[in-house]
Amino acid sequence: MTHIERRTQAYDWDDLVQEDRVHESLYTDPAIFEAEMRSVFGGTWVYLAHESQIPERNDYITARLGLRPLIVTRDNEGVIRALFNRCTHRGTTLCRFEKGNKRAFQCPYHGWNFQNDGKLRGVPWPDGYAENPAHDAKFNLAQVPRVESYRGFIFATLNEAMPSLSDHLGPIKRPLDEWIDRNPGGKIIVCEANRIKYKGNWKLAYDNSGDGYHVLYSHRSLLETENRFQDEATEKGMSYYKNSPDEQPMYIQYMGNGHHFKDKRPNLQPRTGGLWAIESLHPGMEHVAEKLRSRFGAKAESFLDLAGSEPVNINIFPNLSLLGNHIQVFQPISYDETDTIWYGTKIEDVDGTMGPDVLNDINTLRMRTQEGFPNFGEVDDVTNFEQIQRGLRCREDEWIYMNRGLDIPGRIKTLEDGTLKGPATDEVFMREYIKEWKRLMKTQPKLTIRREP
């Protein structure tokens, strides 16, 4: 048993996580953070990367599983692996670049050379060893034993007892499929990112990911900016939050295993072009809309919708959030520091119906729509996350509440598939995901690594 396991075994998790509130130490205790990096970011499926980032054999991208530096490779046989970025000799990281194409990684410190399937190929002057390390499997790189993809999204876990990724995702696969399939051929390509750091615990971002209660207040500057022109025919962006959001058709749904889903699509006019009509104003949009409408007439709206921000939040515990057209990843750095990476996505003209000009116009516009929220919305949220972290220094005031909607008869409905559905501002998703967090922290899943034989 590790030092951290022993220390955190003494915690009374049922006291720290109650039905309506959680203890501040979940956000402020470095020992709890260390335990999370094992039991959560290790003990369950964690998102690593998208297959479009390593499309060719021998492509790699560096990633993290919790704090563990990884090299995610597509090896020479095409197998996707998550290698520990740690030389088996002295512990040095082997790869210091973000991405590239390499069949082998040579340690910069003593020159040990590893294939991208993890096998040690050779070491300098092997006759200085009683037995050549390259002939001993214990010197092959450690790798994450379970790596699986769901429709291009690569996940990994150190917990061999986990069910398959597909089973673990369960009901959240439906909105995920819909999000993917709205793009031609169900294909997306990751293309650079907006990257924002905040000085706060990673769970503050996950708590926020399905939160419909904060929108009108935390994002007031964005909502006012999006609607600063009075002559627009439709209200833009998330304006539907202004009028009794719990009475709107949008909803929050808890999908099991810590995943949850905010669906704002029912608020839209159910027509082609309905999404584009509420898109806030971005560079080049009138030019592209005018050009496509004059060329394609009514059909232009379906192209324009592809550049619009899909109004969903698909949150996959613990570190993945799909919103608009973004793939957002939460990367914990320490108990009070987190990186949020908002990967952009572009589309392909899979069946040739768009042609290169339209594809270029739509993808260009899609870049501009995706830059909007990180610039004018997320910066205010992360400021509030940081100020929560600061407020929690008032240690004597111990509890953080998530009781909105609790104990109101008929407010939350249990659907046939066991998922829970409630009004948009309900905190049911926080109450439920933190139970999954507690289960992992209590059970301390057994973690293992694997090496090539």
């Binding site: 293309c191 750091k197 007031r220 006012e224 080049g284 809309a289 995706q370 610039n375 992360v382 509030n384």
Partner: protein
């Protein structure tokens, strides 16, 4: 757009951001990135150095009205997310604004609800190494400069450093910023509270 107005005012409608404008942007800033500056006349260099310094002063004073007025009606403000500048048609940028989105940026700060700038950052900017490129068109100059933005916000003073490219154009005898590319050293890294105008 739903509006039937024939207005093309770039502060309100975005028609000028077309593929030709993107191609021109990429070509001009590629030149600043890769070629030798051509202007040797100290007076001309000094003229453009003063324009770059003036922009820094307006931003330090939070004089956004004056700052917006120093930009052309049809302008670009571009902070790439990759160290090689990249192609904004296929890559997300840290920021990529046309005239209207610059207006959004300034408007948001004025709402009183922009929590990331409440209170506002205080900045002092140092600009240096100003070099000027001639263009075929006598009413256009390209300028490269280095910058350090010292920013105080929320108990922390930090330095945002990098180099900027400016494309100046002359309209009715007056030089205005037609496009600015801000190349942050940490452009491809996570940045805390990236909400000031660079």
């Amino acid at each position: 757009m739903s509006t039937t107005s024939l207005s093309r005012d770039p502060a309100r409608y975005s028609y000028y951001v077309d593929d030709a404008a993107y191609r021109e942007l990429i070509a001009d800033f590629h030149r600043i990135r890769t070629e030798e500056p051509t202007v040797e006349d100290p007076a001309e260099r000094d003229f453009f150095r003063r324009l770059v310094e003036r922009e820094a002063r307006l931003l330090d004073r939070l004089d956004f009205t004056g700052w917006m007025a120093s930009y052309a009606d049809e302008c670009f403000y571009w902070v790439p997310s990759t160290p090689n500048g990249g192609d904004p048609r296929s890559e997300i940028a840290v920021m990529f604004d046309d005239r209207r989105r610059l207006g959004d940026r300034v408007y948001r700060l004025s709402t009183g609800f922009a929590w990331s700038q409440a209170p506002s950052s205080r900045t002092v900017r140092v600009v240096s190494n100003v070099e000027v490129f001639d263009c075929l068109n006598a009413d256009q100059k390209l300028v490269r400069s280095n910058f350090m933005i010292n920013e105080f916000w929320d108990d922390e003073t930090r330095v945002l450093a990098g180099w900027a490219g400016h494309r100046f154009r002359r309209y009715d005898g007056k030089w205005k910023i037609s496009a600015k590319q801000v190349n942050l050293l940490q452009c491809d890294q996570c940045i805390r509270n990236p909400s000031i105008i660079l």
